[in-house]
Every structure is written in structure tokens, then in C-alpha cells.
Symmetry: C5
């Protein structure tokens, strides 16, 4: 999985039932130190993430189809979790703040 | 998925029934800011895209086969949608214009 | 799929029935402008390609196995077509010539 | 597989049964000479690895699902072993020390 | 497939039956001209390769599982052949010598 920041949204009609009503989020992968690294991707959200959240991105079709319970979904890049904290060699390198994720209850939904 | 610009067409006979009558489009992946990044790819179109369109590219074989409803199609890189708008941190970073996609009805076909 | 130039051949016994009698071609991926980009790969040929041809390379195992009709073939990188022409924004960027592919009938075989 | 150093931990609720109680480790891929190379990844641990261990990372969904014996687990990047030694052209390039992996018995668990 | 040089060995217990007794080799991918390019990888050997051999590496899980005849093996990067010769545009760019692969009979085993 990758660590990424949700930086925006993409509006594009995808003609497949799976995409009906789904939000497409633009995510920027990050390195361990939190710096952007690599090309931005468009992900499907499964963690109620929003712009400003730091997230976990899982980039595999079978995993995505399992998560969404749809064996034929044409999907690969998926946001699977909103990150609360990253610790590097014992030090807190990132911690989600109220400001960064104002709608805190979002990430507690099951 | 990737964001890419359709920049051209490729003529190459592929000896597989799936490719009969299919257009091969040359797409240039872009970064979040709309700048070219990474190597160009050849994609199969499933969104009635054309040169000048900014598109969503899904690069997975199983997804492509699901979208085309052909379980044995030898296909991976697929254009799954023409992008109408990209918003980055609340600002419109890209919006399709009439000039950029003159044949507007194309993308409204189901 | 990638655009690549066939630049050479590789001789290496692969102990799997699928490889008996198969030619291994060294291909150099190219960018949209025809410049080498990325590491060279070794591909299995399914388009009667030869050194000097510009080709389409499909890099997925399931697709390769479908194309060769061998569900258990250990194969991934496959040349699926010899390119006749690439057009970028309306201009011809590449066109196969007699000189570049002297054995022209090769690519007309079905 | 890749060689990587476990550099940290990530806390992020992933709403899938597979992730209940699982530790997410931040791993930094390395080159042959032990220098960081490429973007950090978040891996699921199957080798009782911890921060400071040099590990083997297997980055494929089917392999991960086989290892965990869970055919529907949404998982890809997995730590499959803690490295004891790396030898390059006959010289020891890396050897795990007591200091680097104090809880030595961890890696002897079956 | 990639061309790579076998540069070393890795000792790491992987707790899966498939790995019992298997050697893990460190391989450095090469470009067409034989120069190192890209990050080193750890591969499972299926070609009786050793340090100093130039090899063909196939990096796909399904292919690896087919080659080893083990449908559930957690394996991806596999050495599938030792390279005897590479020819680029008609010139020999690489040829295995007795010195480079002293135990010549190794590669003749079926």
C-alpha cells in the first residue's frame, strides 16, 4: 500500500454500474517523510476520505473487488483507510488533526 | 487510475478477435497539475474519447475484460471516461471546453 | 500497451514447454516522440516481428496466455502487433517503411 | 521480492475483517548496496518483523492471500521474512546483529 | 521479462512450504547495453543460476506458480533462464563464457 494525500476530485462519467454515485478522488502519493513522490492517481474511496486527509491506498484489482464485494467491478486504485498516525523510528511523523480532518466521525464509520 | 491526455492514434494490426474494428489511442499520462509525466501508452477506448480529450485510464487486465464483457480479451490499458472537471483543493484545475472536445455529444452516449 | 522498438534477440533456454521453438526479442520501450524511455525488456513474439520493427507490447500475463491459447504458459511481455503508423495530433509521427521492415509480408500473416 | 528496512508504523483503521488486529509497517525499499531507493510502502507483516529489521517484501495480491490463507483478503504488500544475511559476490554485505533485531527469538517462530 | 545479473544471495527464513530448501538470489536488472538499471530484486531460481550468471527474470505470480507447478505458491520474481547470448542489431552484445558460468552443465539440466 501507499501513503497519499487526497488533493482533489475528478468528475468523469464512467459507464459501468459500479461507478454510479461514486466519488473519484485525486491522490498524491507521498514518501516516508511526507513529501510528494510519484504521479498523482485517481482512486475510488472506501474510507469516507475527503480532500486534506492522508490515506492508505491499495492498488490492486482483486483486493478492490473483494473490498467492494463486487467480483466484476472494473476498479483498481482504492482508498482503504484514513491515516491517524505515522510513527518513524519511535517519533510521531504525522498525526491527523481536527483541522486536517474536520468531519472526524467520518473515519469512525464501519 | 491515471489522468492522461489523448494525443494520437496508432495503427497496428493485432491478430485477436477483440481488436477487430477497435481504435488504438496514444495517451500521455499527466500529473496532478496537468503536466506530462511518465511514458506514453497505447490504450483501448471505452469512452468514445478522441484526440484532445483529457481522460481516465484504468490499467488492469481484469477490469478491462469486465468492462468489455469479454473474459478472454487480451487487453489491459483502457480509457474508461472522458474527464469533465478536476478540482484541486477547492479550485477548478481543469474543465473540458467546447474547443477541447468539439463533438460534445460523444461523451454523453451511454 | 507500450510502443517499443525491437532491437535484438536473446538466446536463453527456458525449461517450459511453452518456450520450445519460441524466439525471445529484446525490445526498447519508446515515448510518444519515439525516443527510448525505460528499461529494455525481453518479449515473446506473437506478431512475426523482427529487429527494426516498431511494435505494440502488451505486458500482462492473462492477456498473453489468452493470446497464445495456453492457460498455463509462464509468459507476460508479448509483442502483439507491428505498428504501421503513429499519428500525433493529426501529424504522422511514424510510418513503417519498406527499409525498416523489409520482409513486409510478415506482418500481413493472420 | 524487494529488500526493505522497516522504518515505522502506520495507524489507520481499514474496515475489512482481515485487518483486525494487524500491524501496518512502513517499509523503505533498498538497493543491492543497502541504500534507500524508491518510495516507502505500507506492508502487512507475516514475519514478526519490527522497526529496524531488514526484510523481504513480496508485493503481489495472490501470494499475500495464499500466505495468509484468506482467499478474499484485500492485501498486496507483505513482509514475508526477516533477512539474516545478504552476500554480494562472495562478501557479506549485510548481517543482522543482536542490536538490530534484539528480540531474536521473534524470527525463529514458525 | 527482464535481463539481470545474479549478484548475490539472501538468507531469510520464509515461513511457507514452498520456500523450504530454496535459494534466494539477488538480481540486478540491466538495460539493453548491459548497464545496471533499476532496483535490485530478490528472485527464486528455476534455472540453476548462480552468482555471475546473466539471467532472464519473469516477474509475475501466475507464471511463477505455473512454472513451479504449485498453484498456491507465494512467489512472483523468478529466474527462468540463464542467458547464453544477446545480439543487438546483428552484433553480439553479450555471450556467456566459461569463466562467467564455470559450472556449465548446470544450465543444461532440464
Amino acid at each position: 500500500m501507499k501513503i497519499a494525500d487526497v488533493v482533489g476530485t475528478v468528475v468523469a462519467p464512467v459507464h459501468a454500474p459500479f461507478y454510479t454515485g461514486r466519488k473519484l478522488l485525486l491522490v498524491q502519493p507521498l514518501d516516508a517523510n511526507g513529501k510528494p513522490r510519484g504521479r498523482a492517481q485517481v482512486a475510488v474511496d472506501r474510507a469516507q476520505a475527503g480532500v486534506g486527509d492522508r490515506v492508505l491506498v491499495l492498488d490492486e484489482g482483486s483486493s478492490a473487488r473483494d473490498l467492494f464485494g463486487d467480483a466484476l467491478a472494473p476498479v483498481k486504485t482504492t482508498i482503504v483507510g484514513v491515516i491517524d498516525e505515522i510513527e518513524i523510528r519511535g517519533d510521531v511523523a504525522y498525526r491527523a488533526t481536527e483541522r486536517e480532518s474536520p468531519a472526524a466521525p467520518r473515519r469512525r464509520t464501519s
